[in-house]
């Protein structure tokens, strides 16, 4: 009995690549959402607006403390009951984007806090206006060290996108499972996609490590 069916394996690759393409789209759009929403959340928290800021803080803690799978179920099954009906794909992208925005919000916060107080003090001493202080002093310095961290989250989102297969999105894992159940052979599809995930995340993580060394030099 042959254990690995190479012919089969090769034949399913085109379908799997389509799934991979969807995964990549989900990842990039979702990540963009998380960057934008996370920034908004970080700003609101920073401005310490009464009532709203604490709510956002709690929201960040809650989203980070609960599973993405359950959040996806909520979006997919609960929202329609409230009259909000979207297709599975946009729903999934928004869910993963919002989930990760809780993490990016924390990254932004850490980036700002890490800036040595002396920088703010020097800006004050030079009478720089607030917006200039932010644009020319704070943001350029705060952004550099957080880029590797955000990069890591991008890679994490790429792998977590597999969870969206549970709400009927036929991305990479979804494609593999549908092939598996259709042909009653799971070994080849799942193994191949495992290697595909690895083939993309590993080089990316090496790139991130390189960025880390450049942006966050350690002695």
């Amino acid at each position: 009995m042959i254990i690995w069916d190479s012919e089969f394996a090769i034949s399913i690759i085109p379908t799997l690549l389509k799934g991979l393409w969807l995964t990549l789209q989900i990842t990039f759009i979702g990540f963009f959402i998380s960057l934008a929403v996370g920034l908004l959340v970080a700003i609101v928290r920073y401005l310490k607006i009464p009532v709203i800021s604490p709510i956002f803080t709690f929201w960040v803690s809650f989203v980070r403390g609960t599973p993405l799978l359950v959040q996806a179920y909520v979006a997919f099954y609960v929202l329609p009951l409230m009259g909000v009906t979207f297709d599975a794909l946009p729903t999934g992208i928004v869910v993963i984007g919002l989930n990760y925005s809780a993490y990016t919000a924390e990254v932004y916060r850490a980036g700002i806090e890490q800036l040595p107080k002396g920088q703010w003090e020097a800006a004050t001493a030079l009478s720089l206006p607030r917006w200039r202080t932010w644009m020319r002093i704070v943001v350029p310095q705060a952004v550099r060290p957080i880029i590797p961290v955000l990069g890591n989250y991008l890679i994490m989102m790429f792998k977590d996108s597999a969870i969206l297969s549970s709400i009927t999105i036929i991305e990479l894992l979804g494609s593999a499972l549908s092939i598996g159940s259709g042909y009653y052979r799971y070994l080849e599809p799942i193994t191949i996609i495992g290697l595909m995930y690895l083939a993309i995340s590993f080089p990316c993580s090496l790139l991130i490590k390189r960025l880390e060394r450049r942006f966050v030099p350690t002695h």
């Binding site: 254990i3 809650f62 980070r64 403390g65 609960t66 599973p67 993405l68 799978l69 359950v70 959040q71 179920y73 909520v74 099954y77 609960v78 009951l81 792998k159 977590d160 597999a162 969870i163 297969s165 549970s166 894992l173 593999a176 499972l177 598996g180 052979r185 799971y186 070994l187 799942i190 193994t191 996609i193 495992g194 290697l195 995930y197 690895l198 995340s201 590993f202 993580s205």
Partner: protein, 232 residues
């Protein structure tokens, strides 16, 4: 909300399974973390390389894929794993790979001077690791381990996708029967949140305990031979 309480028994069962999976997964994670982490620090290439390969492989290929592979693909190689085993195995190996980097990084970053002082006193590498580097590193590892454990808890929800009847699975199946989608999912969201807070508190407790412990441990250990000399 009546159906919630009707099904509260089943949800509690699911909660129990989730906790069991978390604990078993955590145990495997710690074992894997120290095995792979310490190997990654070894002088011997034949230990370091397999450790790196293991870590990069399990971090890079994605937990859910690994779980499905253990459950759906492994049978084709002749090995049939029970759903719970497949789930815990994937969780332990995956989170263990991440935690291994915590172990390796914390111990590596111990001030070089500690290693040198131990060398100067003639300690072998094994002795250095056992008596000096690891004990010092544990308090520093705790926060990062805490993150790994919370991650582990959240990821236990994925075992519902390989037919383990955990909290998520119970809610999912109960939903199709009762249609009380909102209450069920909200309830389990809150339960997961509480569990993650619990883990956070546990870690903070351990951090305090291990930080103080140096002093309290020292006081607690009786040095009997000392008492005679000290009082003279």
């Amino acid at each position: 909300m009546t159906s919630i309480f009707d099904y509260s028994g089943l949800l509690l069962q699911g909660l129990g399974v989730t906790i069991v999976v978390t604990v078993l997964g955590a145990a495997l994670t710690l074992i894997v973390a120290f095995a792979a982490g310490l190997s990654g620090l070894s002088r011997h290439r034949w230990l370091r390389w397999p450790s790196s390969i293991f870590v990069e492989f399990f971090r890079g290929s994605g937990l859910l894929v690994q779980m499905f592979w253990f459950f759906y693909a492994l049978p084709f190689l002749g090995i049939q794993l029970a759903p719970l085993v497949a789930g815990v195995l994937a969780l332990g190996l995956n989170e263990g790979a991440y935690a291994a980097e915590v172990v390796r990084g914390t111990i590596r970053s111990r001030a070089k001077g500690q290693t040198e002082a131990a060398i100067a006193l003639g300690m072998t590498p094994a002795l250095r690791m056992r008596r000096i580097l690891i004990p010092q590193s544990i308090p520093a590892m705790l926060p990062a381990f805490g993150n790994v454990m919370v991650d582990l808890l959240k990821n236990t929800s994925l075992v519902s996708l390989v037919t383990v009847s955990d909290l998520t699975w119970r809610a999912f199946t109960a939903r199709t029967i009762t249609g009380q989608t909102v209450e069920l999912f909200l309830t389990i969201l809150v339960l997961y949140y509480l569990l993650s807070l619990l883990i956070g508190w546990l870690i903070r407790y351990l951090e305090r305990r291990f930080a103080l412990d140096r002093k309290s441990l020292a006081k607690a250990r009786p040095i009997k031979a000392m008492i005679g000399r000290v009082s003279s």
